[in-house]
């Protein structure tokens, strides 16, 4: 079973404490949303989890192994995969090559041809199979997001971090991403999803983490978090006495469909 333990992790940049003594645990294939105002420390936290940054203090364990001291590629091999806030497809490589990179990195002795069929299946699931031989730079922003998800499918991690997966994405592609998350979660993968699309994240998540000013201010089921005074203060300010309602930006067509 997937186990992630974040113990009292902090990250300081000069005088700025971007992540301030954050602790939480993940047990099993949970679908977790991570929200917070801009500058709350969400992306820094994901960078700490994936090894892109090293914590100033605290420890992170995954499946019993301490990962905060490991380089990113070893963390990927332990079973943690991620996407980035700004899509980072390998633009001057074809879609197929993009998909082969993680598979070959995870299997040092396997031959390239062994994974081509898998890459085609993944591309087909993500509806980008017709683009396999095109350079990634030819893809639209949304298709590049799908390609990033495809790379994660080829990496096959136990714990997946998605940083703003729905930002700037056409509703049809959003539906595919939504479906990807649900299907992959059913296969036993845990998710940590950062999103500013509150309606979607509240619909999708089983558990919500809320950050503000580098601190984890709430951790619980979405309905509970919505009523948390600290969350209301972070989003609406201290004068508000109204329960916070996430703004509905896009109709969660896929969510409705899948839930039905």
């Amino acid at each position: 079973m997937i186990q992630l333990e974040v113990n009292d992790v902090s990250k300081q940049f000069g005088g700025l404490l971007a992540v301030n003594h954050v602790s939480f645990q993940v047990q099993g294939p949970e679908l977790i949303g991570l929200i917070g105002p801009n500058g709350a420390g969400k992306t820094t936290l994901t960078n700490l989890l994936s090894g892109a940054l090293k914590p100033s203090s605290g420890t992170i364990y995954m499946n019993g192994q301490r990962i905060d001291v490991l380089p990113p590629y070893k963390i990927a091999k332990v079973g943690l995969g991620r996407t980035f806030q700004v899509t980072r497809a390998f633009r001057r490589m074809t879609v197929l090559e993009n998909l082969l990179v993680p598979a070959l990195a995870m299997h040092p002795t396997a031959r390239q041809a062994q994974f081509v069929k898998k890459a085609r299946e993944v591309a087909e699931f993500l509806t980008i199979d017709h683009l396999l031989n095109e350079y990634a730079r030819a893809l639209s922003g949304g298709q590049q997001k799908l390609l990033e998800l495809g790379r994660l499918l080829m990496l096959d991690p136990d714990f997946i971090i998605l940083d703003e997966p729905f930002a700037g994405v056409h509703p049809r592609l959003m539906e595919i991403i939504y479906e990807y998350i649900i299907e992959t979660n059913k296969q036993g993968k845990a998710f940590l999803i950062i999103s500013h699309d509150m309606e979607t994240i509240f619909t999708l998540s089983q558990r919500l983490l809320v950050m503000a000013f580098g601190k984890l201010i709430a951790d619980g089921p979405p309905e509970e978090v919505k009523r948390d005074p600290a969350v209301i203060e972070a989003y609406l300010g201290s004068d508000s006495d109204k329960p916070w309602q996430p703004e509905r930006k896009t109709p969660p067509a896929a969510g409705d469909r899948i839930a039905a």
Partner: protein, 409 residues
């Protein structure tokens, strides 16, 4: 489509190799230019692997070539094999032979020892291929060191670091007159000191055909090695690192390992070219490592196409021949242009125009047009296929492959 591409690649190799093999009979008076063109082709294509494929914009490539050349030269000058101990030089037993070093402290030790050595004792130089091989090893060691030092440096910082390394090395060789000969240079023996017989023809040490064939052999070997690397997971990973180091690392690619490997391999190739060049020209000087020489190699790769090994090699060969051709003075009315000086201006202008209008070089787009022919049409045809035929409206679309990482049986 893949079968056609494979046949096209084989055809390109066969035609290209055949052309280079018959070149000595097509331009018998230009053999020196042909040897130098191949030397630059090795350097430009290996730099294309480093910078075009791997994104490591290094200015130290000529320094690695210089390391190979000077290692070969120093071994040629100071190291001998003897069948008996000299008791006068620094020496190490090697089976039934002795490895003798005539260091600067005792430069005439071997001459003195000849008087005391037994009759018939042999004193021989190491064969040229062994000097070159040692140069490759030294080049590789320095490549490993530089690769490890520049791991966290990118773009401008990497370029500045490698310029500093190249200049330090050149200055050190320039200053250390007793060992390297300083600016006066270092003399080497030819590739075939006693001549060679090829297909019944005897060639002297000064003939150009044997070194041309050796340089051609090295060029083909290096191209085959680099194409194999570029087509393997190594090539895929270094391109991923070029595109985005952080993303590549997050997908399981050991960025440190592949960057160091890339520096080491390309440094070894440059050192091999340098060692071969040294034994061909027979006098090497520190100016083979000046930034201008490095700029020429970069310009050849850029004009040919940095992201193509073949493009960079073809670019280097064409430009070397063109530069030699441009040596002839041009007279326009009362004015005579000394093209020995002005040719580099023409070359620089070509580089600027290429960078401005054809960022991928002049040869690479042609290769791309051939190798990627039909890709756009294939994409459009696939897109126009009605997805609904395989994907009904409801939730029965293709499911995520259960275990995407298990290889096919």
């Amino acid at each position: 489509m893949r079968g056609t591409m494979r046949r096209l690649k084989i055809l390109t190799w066969v035609v290209g190799t055949s052309f280079l093999l018959i070149l000595p009979w097509l331009i018998p008076t230009r053999m020196h230019v042909a040897v130098i063109a191949l030397y630059y082709a090795i350097l430009a294509s290996s730099w294309a692997l480093l910078a075009g494929y791997g994104g490591q914009f290094s200015f130290a490539h000529m320094a690695f070539a210089g390391l190979g050349a000077y290692t070969a030269g120093l071994i040629d000058k100071f190291i001998r094999l003897t069948t008996a101990p000299t008791y006068a030089c620094t020496e190490f037993p090697l089976g039934s032979w002795w490895l003798v070093i005539q260091d600067t402290a005792s430069p005439t030790c071997l001459e003195k020892a000849k008087a005391t050595m037994p009759m018939g004792a042999l004193i021989v130089k190491l064969p040229a291929w062994m000097d070159i091989l040692m140069g490759v090893v030294v080049g590789g060691l320095f490549g490993l060191l530089i690769g490890a030092l520049v791991l966290r440096l990118r773009r401008t910082y990497l370029a500045l670091f490698t310029i500093a390394f190249a200049e330090i090395l050149r200055t050190a060789i320039n200053a250390e007159r007793d060992i390297t000969g300083g600016p006066g240079g270092l003399k080497l023996s030819p590739l075939f000191p006693n001549g060679v017989t090829l297909l019944g023809h005897e060639f002297t040490a000064a003939d150009k055909l044997p070194p041309y064939l050796v340089m051609l052999g090295l060029f083909l070997l290096v191209m085959a090695l680099m194409y194999w690397l570029a087509g393997s997971r190594f090539g895929l990973f270094i391109r991923a690192i070029r595109e985005d180091e952080e993303a590549a690392g997050s997908l399981g690619v050991d960025v440190v390992r592949y960057k160091i490997l890339l520096f080491t391999i390309t440094a070894m190739i440059a050192a091999a070219a340098g060692g071969m060049y040294a034994h061909y020209v027979r006098v090497i000087a520190p100016n083979m490592m000046v930034i201008k020489e490095m700029s020429v190699v970069i310009a050849m790769a850029v004009i040919g196409g940095m992201e193509s090994l073949l493009g960079a090699a073809i670019g280097a060969i064409i430009i070397e021949f063109a530069l030699e051709q441009l040596r002839s003075n041009i007279t326009i009315g009362a004015f005579t242009l000394n093209m020995a000086d002005w040719r580099l201006v023409v070359f620089g202008a070509l580089l600027m125009i290429t960078l401005r209008f054809w960022g991928n070089g002049l040869i690479h787009p042609i290769i791309q047009r051939i190798t990627r022919r039909g890709v756009a049409e294939e994409t459009v045809a696939k897109r126009l296929q009605p997805r609904a035929a395989t994907e009904p409206e409801d939730d029965t679309r293709v499911k995520i492959p259960a275990s995407p990482l298990e290889p096919d049986p």
